[in-house]
């Protein structure tokens, strides 16, 4: 039964991958990538990776799709027809694929319990984590404690993405002056009146979704979920709100400057736990330092705080990314009219393109 489902889902995946590759309408393609992600999440569930499935669903089908759409809104929706057959790409791909297939030949079979993956270090996690960490969700234990530093790095990656996207896109858009309230509503755009159901539903759903996010955050120790998933869900709620009421409605609720700082706060909370254990004379992120006489409690505390940091940074970064994408006006410059920015000898110590934009 399980096998049949697996096979079918795999077949679906292949189908989708091919269709996405051939689809030249990028709007459709981004929807298809959403479907692709959903199938993946289904497969992950079949393969018992519920946490991964959880994350993939939230990220792949939710955030990624929104990101792709936001980009399409600022760029073009259609892909040009390629001019020539990409023989080189075919060659490279064929070669790489052949190499990989060659490599699979000596792999242990799918699901083989005696594979090295299961008999190696993982055995320790599977057998000892209840005693050492004491959390039902093994994934959370490994994630936040055994390999807590990886997760710290992962949070660093997310934070970097936030920084990177802000660096790229935040300038050139008018930012609300700090402290000033958002400008009052000018006029209700007609389309809000067009969708009373959505308006009502979104307002009604908001608190529940946010509550659900908190539940996922807290329940990560016991079931699938955790800081990352919670953060994504939290942001998804706000994005939902933003989709219906506009980004500045969200900004009024969570000011951009504040959110940008929150991205840092989460990472600092995580790192702060590490620094605390360090000053207590233990290793970085050795939570047992927090409660020396009862290491398991220390682990619980550490994991709780660390997950909180993850949740804060993830939701803040996702929100920042949404802000900068959604609030960026589309510039419809045709390549003809655009002056070539020849920054040769002419501009000594000149302004970058950013400044030029801000000035105009």
């Amino acid at each position: 039964m399980e096998l049949l489902i697996t096979v079918t889902l795999f077949a679906f995946l292949i189908w989708m991958a091919v269709v996405i590759g051939r689809q030249r309408d990028l709007f459709s393609a981004s929807m298809l990538t959403g479907i692709f992600s959903l199938i993946c999440a289904g497969l992950f569930t079949v393969m018992d990776a519920v946490d991964v499935a959880f994350t993939e669903a939230a990220v792949g089908a939710g955030i990624s799709t929104v990101l792709f759409l936001a980009t399409l809104a600022l760029t073009d929706e259609r892909e040009r027809r390629p001019e020539h057959t990409p023989l080189a790409a075919i060659g490279v791909v064929a070669l790489t694929g052949a190499a990989l297939v060659y490599g699979t030949l000596d792999m242990p079979a799918y699901g083989d319990p005696s594979a090295p993956v299961h008999t190696g270090v993982a055995r320790h996690y599977m057998e000892r984590s209840w005693d050492e960490i004491g959390l039902p969700n093994i994934v959370t234990g490994v994630l936040a404690s055994y390999r807590g530093f990886d997760t710290f790095g992962e949070l660093g990656v997310i934070f970097t993405a936030g920084i990177g996207v802000s660096l790229l896109l935040s300038a050139g858009t008018p930012e609300l002056t700090p402290g000033a309230p958002p400008p009052p509503p000018k006029s209700r755009a007609p389309y809000v009146r067009e969708m009373p159901i959505l308006r009502t539903v979104s307002k009604a759903l908001m608190p529940y979704i946010l509550l659900f996010a908190l539940y996922v955050q807290a329940h990560g120790d016991f079931g699938p979920g955790g800081g990352f998933q919670a953060g994504v869900i939290f942001t998804a709620a706000l994005i939902l709100y933003g989709l219906i009421w506009g980004p500045s409605a969200v900004e009024a609720f969570a000011r951009r400057r504040l959110v940008e700082r929150a991205t840092a706060v989460g990472l600092l909370i995580y790192g702060g736990v590490g620094v605390t254990t360090l000053t207590l004379g233990h290793s970085f992120l050795d939570y047992s330092a927090l409660s020396p006489e009862h290491p398991q409690h220390g682990q619980h505390w550490g994991i709780f705080v660390v997950e909180l940091g993850v949740g804060i940074t993830v939701s803040a970064v996702m929100l920042v990314i949404y802000y900068v994408f959604a609030s960026r006006p589309k510039k419809d410059v045709s390549p003809m009219r655009q002056p070539l920015p020849l920054l040769g000898g002419a501009c000594v110590g000149d302004v970058s393109t950013e400044d030029a934009e801000a000035d105009s």
Binding site: M1, E2, L4, I5, F12, W15, M16, V19, F27, S28, M31, L32, G34, I35, L38, G42, T45, V46, D48, V50, A53, A57, A61, G62, T65, V66, L69, A70, A73, P174, P182, P183, P185, K186, R188, A189, Y191, L198, F212, V216, H219, G223, P224, Q229, I233, I239, L240, L243, W245, G246, P247, S248, A249, A252, F325, A326, S327, R328, P329, K330
Partner: protein, 98 residues
């Protein structure tokens, strides 16, 4: 019992395939949007069924997330297809600001 769940799963897979077919051939954007939405719904159901199949129904959380993401995604898509942008602001559009 498992047989029932298995049959349900099969049925879901078939409907998923149908939704995918629609998403693949289109032809209009709205076909694809509704296909995406339908597919999302089927996935939620499939996850639920899988939970029961493997005897761990406590992951219904997961299905909830799917439902939510599906909703957000569909909304974004709809909005995009109608206004060509996610940015149109109801309170103050960016273009109006100094």
């Amino acid at each position: 019992m498992n047989l029932v769940f298995g049959a349900a799963a099969m049925g879901l897979l078939v409907t998923m395939a149908l939704a995918m077919f629609r998403a693949t051939v289109g032809p209009s954007a709205y076909d694809r949007i509704s296909a995406l939405n339908a597919f999302g719904t089927k996935t939620v159901l499939l996850i639920a069924v899988l939970g029961f199949l493997s005897g761990r129904p406590e992951w219904l959380d997961l299905a909830l997330v799917y439902g939510l993401c599906n909703f957000v995604g569909t909304l974004a898509v709809l909005r995009f297809s109608k206004y060509g942008s996610l940015a149109k602001d109801e309170l103050a559009s960016a273009e109006d600001e100094p």
